[in-house]
């Protein structure tokens, strides 16, 4: 313990971030996840530069061309370049992930942390609501919401968000329950901090790592759910190049024109896999248990 006092020059959070990144890069699998994520972000940012064609322009005379001949991944049933659509699709995927996460993270965190910290009736009511949403299979719940609100990308995002906050809230609550008895919370109460202040300043930061991990792993699920909605015709509307929708329309041709579904399928698989790997790596990097270790 005497040796535990080290000197750090970087600000705390930056240093922590650096450490986490280094940790992730050390493991080959999470490094892979990071790399794919980086590629995805680059694709989304520089889509116009990377794409070889306009993703929306149809060429009815050039439909269903196999990969090659100027079309890296071939063309679809309306003669659109699949590679370019995939590249632009990265934007949609990222938008979905981003929006869902920034809705779900804070909402789930706040609900869960409040329920866990305050306990009692408040907890009971919130957790019943959470239970209700949780006992609904998420795909079906999103389906219902999308069907109710009308199919569109935004509604799909809302629907997915609606279905993904409960597990996060559950997790945050479980974490909060373990912290609510901690002495530093008692100390904060003794200093006169209001419950809201304690939740925001003391409980939420403690739940953050596991919520972050969960969110990352959730992103994989979000991608799959969005794709599933697209597959069922309830996600992004044509002509948007959403990957799931691309598979849904492409599957009619898959027996003869394999490239229509294979590339979007691989894209979904790779991105979802890399988010899973990343989340798994983060779990090791941010493990709250390790963090609390003395």
């Amino acid at each position: 313990m005497s040796a535990a006092v080290e000197t750090h020059t970087l600000p705390g959070w930056l240093n922590a971030l650096k450490n986490i990144l280094l940790f992730l890069l050390r493991s080959p699998t999470s490094a892979f996840g990071l790399a794919v994520l980086a590629v995805l972000i680059l694709c989304a940012l520089f889509a116009p530069l990377i794409a070889t064609h306009d993703p929306y322009v149809q060429a009815l005379g050039n439909t269903l061309k196999p990969p090659g001949n100027g079309h890296l991944f071939g063309t679809d049933e309306l003669g659109r370049d699949i590679f370019s659509r995939l590249v632009y699709g990265a934007r949609i995927t990222l938008t979905i992930i981003f929006l869902v996460s920034i809705i779900v993270g804070p909402v789930g965190l706040l609900i869960g942390a409040s329920a866990g910290y305050l306990g009692g009736k408040f907890d009971t009511v919130l957790m019943r609501i959470t239970d209700i949403f949780l006992s609904f299979p998420s795909l079906i719940l999103s389906l219902a919401f999308v069907a109710a609100l009308g199919p569109s990308l935004n509604n799909a995002i809302i629907a997915i968000a609606l279905t993904s906050w409960p597990p996060i809230a559950r997790l945050a609550r479980a974490e909060a329950m373990t912290f609510r008895k901690a002495d530093y919370i008692a100390a904060a109460r003794l200093q006169g901090a209001s419950p809201l202040r304690i939740i925001v300043k003391s409980i939420m930061p403690m739940c953050l790592p596991s919520v972050l991990i969960r969110l990352t792993l959730n992103m994989a699920t979000v991608i799959l759910t969005a794709a599933g909605l697209g597959f069922l015709g309830l996600g992004a509307q044509p002509p948007l190049p959403e990957w799931g929708a691309m598979i849904a329309t492409g599957r009619r041709y898959m027996l003869d024109n394999w490239w229509l579904v294979t590339f979007p399928g691989l894209a979904i698989l790779t991105v979802s896999l890399s988010f899973n790997l990343l989340g798994d790596g983060l779990r090791d990097a941010l493990d709250p248990k390790q963090m609390n270790k003395r």
Partner: protein, 340 residues
């Protein structure tokens, strides 16, 4: 999914919370049903019906009453055990569900068996070899299963194993011309066909089951593997494991006699949970494989606004989850002396 969701409070509060949850589920479903742009009347009377016909059916379905009244009537019926008839099939909803549920149970049971047999050993193996190559290999293999868009892999598998290699049966629960040959007693085709002594039907059913079940099993094994690994890591870090080793137990003995014994209940819980979500959530694979199961029943009824059927399905899902809650509570009581 954290399994803490299964650990409801004390036995007394449990009944209350069960009722509240079920009621909440129904309210939510009812609300969604109201918001749906689906028109059950139109489904009944068709596109070309006259206004008069439309209104007659509208009235007959009770849709002209205030919403709360409809809900109250519905609740009253449910409490007396009457779940109504489905608009889409014209049958009592319960009868429909008794028909679709076995199909799904058959699929899900097979899937979960595959998932557990694959997932548990892999999870233990990964935990024991944490951060070494077996761990990474298992991680990639299992997360792969977790990341597959199952509708895509399903289609690919169908093409490869059915169309090209001809190893397995195609869509549906059995070959077409066997349909209707076996009386539906239990609804479980494998059991019914054995009882009837129709071995051809049995093999055909097995042949059709294996592919979707394997796919589902693989994807749920991912979850089981990850959870097993992390449970196992928790246990392996415990001091009692060291105690066991100090006593002179070998690694294998420590792992299987001590550590694994302590994750049994958690494992059963998450497997039950995975099973539960397979029962309700295999919509996509059921779509791809034309499997006449619960998921597609619920989905198709949802889309046309057949609310009697949807509400009953949702109730059943609620009951399944509550059942799982109870199951895991009971298991904890049985296996974990600390909770006795």
């Amino acid at each position: 999914m954290s399994f803490s969701r299964l650990r409801l409070g004390g036995a007394v509060g449990q009944l209350g919370s069960i009722i509240v949850t079920l009621l909440g589920l129904l309210v939510l479903t009812f609300f969604i049903g109201r918001m749906m742009p689906a028109d059950p009347v139109r489904a009944i009377v068709g596109e070309d019906a006259t206004r008069e016909t439309y209104e007659q059916v509208y009235h007959a379905l009770g849709l002209d009453r205030p919403v709360w009244e409809q809900f109250v009537y519905y609740m009253r019926d449910v409490l007396t055990g009457n779940f109504g008839t489905s608009i889409r099939t014209g049958q009592p909803v319960i009868q429909d569900i008794l028909h679709v549920m076995p199909a799904t149970i058959e699929l899900a049971t097979f899937a979960i068996l595959i998932g557990a047999c694959l997932g548990i050993p892999m999870g233990v193996f990964a935990a024991v070899n944490k951060d070494r190559w077996p761990d990474h290999a298992v991680r990639v293999f299992s997360l792969f299963g977790h990341s597959m868009p199952i509708f895509w892999t399903g289609m690919i598998a169908l093409i490869v194993f059915y169309a090209h290699l001809d190893l397995v049966g195609g869509s549906g629960r059995m070959d077409q011309f066997y349909i209707g040959l076996v009386d539906e007693r239990t609804g479980f085709l494998l059991i019914d066909s054995l009882r009837a002594g129709e071995m051809d039907v049995f093999w055909s059913a097995l042949n059709h089951l294996i592919l979707p079940a394997t796919l589902l099993g693989y994807s749920s094994s991912a979850y089981i593997t990850r959870m097993t690994r992390s449970f196992m890591l928790d246990q392996l870090g415990q001091e009692y494991v060291t105690t066991a080793r100090v006593k002179g137990l070998s690694r294998g003995q420590t792992i299987w006699l001590h550590a694994f014994g302590n994750i049994r209940v958690q494992l059963v819980t998450i497997i039950a949970l995975a099973y539960g979500s397979l029962l309700e959530g295999a919509v996509l694979i059921e779509t791809v494989f034309a499997w006449p199961g619960f998921g597609s029943y619920l989905t198709s009824n949802l889309i046309i606004g057949d609310m009697n059927a949807v509400m009953t399905c949702v109730l059943i899902i609620g009951v399944i989850f509550i059942g799982l809650n109870l199951l895991s509570d009971i298991l904890y009581r049985i296996f974990d002396p600390r909770t006795r």
